[in-house]
């Protein structure tokens, strides 16, 4: 049980994908202008990271390892995750229009972004088993969700302030993101 707790806390706070690993920065900056869309994006990332953790584990353990081609993991993971996300998008579109409306529009955007690929690679490097991989993916997604929702709240408030012309838009967002990352340093040493 402590192992699971360690993974959970570690992925959400200590090794937060955005805040301390700097992965998944593109959706983090691109879709954080409004809290609604940030929430949708975060949920989509959580969803994709969870299922891709499971599938990449299976592909690695049962295809790449037996055939002694572990060095192909990067390209194999990209292939598997891209196909999987496409498939899931089609499936959701058919079966649940409501879910598609809230989640589906974000799915093509995050097909193998660095956070999604990163979680797969880290699971492999940490020698997690299937359950641990899935948990790690889920917790990593939750960490991303928390980061992007908090950040969108900050950005919504920044909008109302008189910002010098040179800092308007992305520059001030990057500075805010940097300060937020520094605050996440406080979690270092928790586990």
């Amino acid at each position: 049980m402590p192992v699971f707790l360690t993974i959970l806390i570690g992925q959400i706070f200590v090794n937060n994908f955005v805040m301390s690993k700097f992965m998944g920065i593109c959706p983090f900056l691109g879709v954080s202008k409004k809290m609604d869309s940030a929430l949708g994006m975060g949920m989509a990332v959580t969803f994709v990271m969870t299922i891709s953790s499971a599938f990449t584990y299976l592909v690695y353990q049962y295809i790449l390892v037996p055939l002694h081609v572990q060095y192909l993991y990067t390209i194999a993971f990209i292939l598997v995750i891209a196909a999987l996300v496409q498939f899931v998008e089609m499936f959701i579109r058919k079966t649940s229009p409501e879910l598609y409306a809230s989640l589906g529009v974000y799915l093509p955007l995050i097909t193998t972004n660095c956070a999604v690929l990163g979680v797969a690679v880290l699971n492999m490097q940490n020698h997690y088993n299937l359950v641990e991989s899935v948990l790690s993916g889920f917790a990593g997604g939750l960490g991303f969700l928390m980061g992007i929702v908090l950040f969108s709240g900050i950005r919504e408030r920044i909008e109302f302030n008189p910002i010098p012309k040179a800092f308007q838009g992305f520059p001030i967002a990057l500075i805010a993101a940097g300060l937020m990352a520094i605050s996440f340093l406080g979690f270092q040493g928790l586990i």
Binding site: L67, V69, L72, A76, L79, V80, Q86, F87, F160, P162
Partner: protein, 283 residues
């Protein structure tokens, strides 16, 4: 040789497998779309303003194609769009008369008293939640930070001398500003409406007079003078029934505080002078 060939086979195999799976899935989960939906979507302006009550032009086109809602909900496209959509759907369009936004406040900087120097965030949404609900003494009046200006997709509303004024030629009636205004000052009126009340303060006349030189004092002269009996007093404010009003302008003439005005006489091409509170204080 094998060291190249085997990885090639493995990756190719996974790729082909994934391709087959996706090909199969795209057939199996194919989404049938109403061909009219695309045509309807092309008629719509694509502003995605949400004035029709749907999440955007795509959503409205889908709902029309499905027969759930009538054509003519699009305020931006107006009658032209409604006619085109009606032709596609094979129905007759009965788009109502065009509506434009109207801001019921004329408490400009020189007329309405300010309670204090405000250093807070330059947004109506923020300034409306401070104690007392306004930076002006009048709790009902326009705050002038231009949340509506930001919301407007058509550059049709501007801050002039501390209050929001609608450019009636540019307004497409999408209602985005109504959603944005925390004071609920903006409402839709018919573009044909002749006269309106430029105040929202429903307190008694004496109290209004103290805090705003432009506010409605609720004297009721307009309602007594109106030959058509189109004006009734509600909550110390005149309410005009535009169906009865013939636009004679007698009320505007008789109004002692000039808060009832002929809309046509009010200027419409305006320059944006969003309130800059901080420089004001520095001066």
């Amino acid at each position: 040789m094998a060291s190249i060939f085997i990885p090639f086979l493995i990756l190719g195999g996974i790729g082909i497998l994934a391709g087959l799976l996706l090909g199969f899935a795209s057939k199996k989960f194919a989404q049938e779309e109403d061909p009219r939906q695309q045509l309807l979507r092309e008629c719509l302006p694509g502003a995605n303003c949400g004035g029709c009550g749907f999440a955007g032009c795509d959503a409205y086109a889908r709902a029309v194609a499905a027969g759930e809602v009538p054509v003519g909900r699009c305020g931006v496209g107006g009658k032209e769009t409604a006619d085109k959509m009606a032709a596609i759907m094979g129905v007759s369009s009965d788009a109502g008369q065009p509506m434009v936004a109207f801001t019921a406040c004329c408490g400009t900087k020189d007329k309405a008293e300010r309670r204090f120097h405000y250093y807070g965030t330059s947004a109506c949404r923020e300034a409306s939640v401070i104690p007392g609900g306004s930076i002006k003494s009048c709790r009902y009046g326009c705050l002038g930070f231009g949340d509506c200006v930001k919301a407007c997709l058509f550059d049709a509303i501007h801050i002039k001398n501390g209050i929001a004024v609608v450019d009636r030629d540019k307004c497409r009636g999408c209602r985005a500003c109504i959603e944005a205004c925390p004071k609920h000052l903006i409402r839709m009126i018919s573009k044909e409406a002749a006269v309106e009340v430029y105040c929202s303060n429903c307190e008694r006349g004496l109290d209004v007079k103290d805090i705003c030189k432009a506010g409605c004092i609720g004297c009721g002269i307009c309602s007594r003078q109106c030959p058509q009996k189109a004006i009734t007093m509600q909550n110390d404010l005149p309410v005009i029934d535009h169906a009865l009003c013939d636009g004679c302008g007698l009320c505007a003439e008789k109004c002692p505080v000039h808060v009832l005005r002929l809309i046509k006489e009010e200027g419409s091409s305006l320059k944006d002078e969003r309130v800059q509170m901080v420089p004001d204080v520095v001066k």
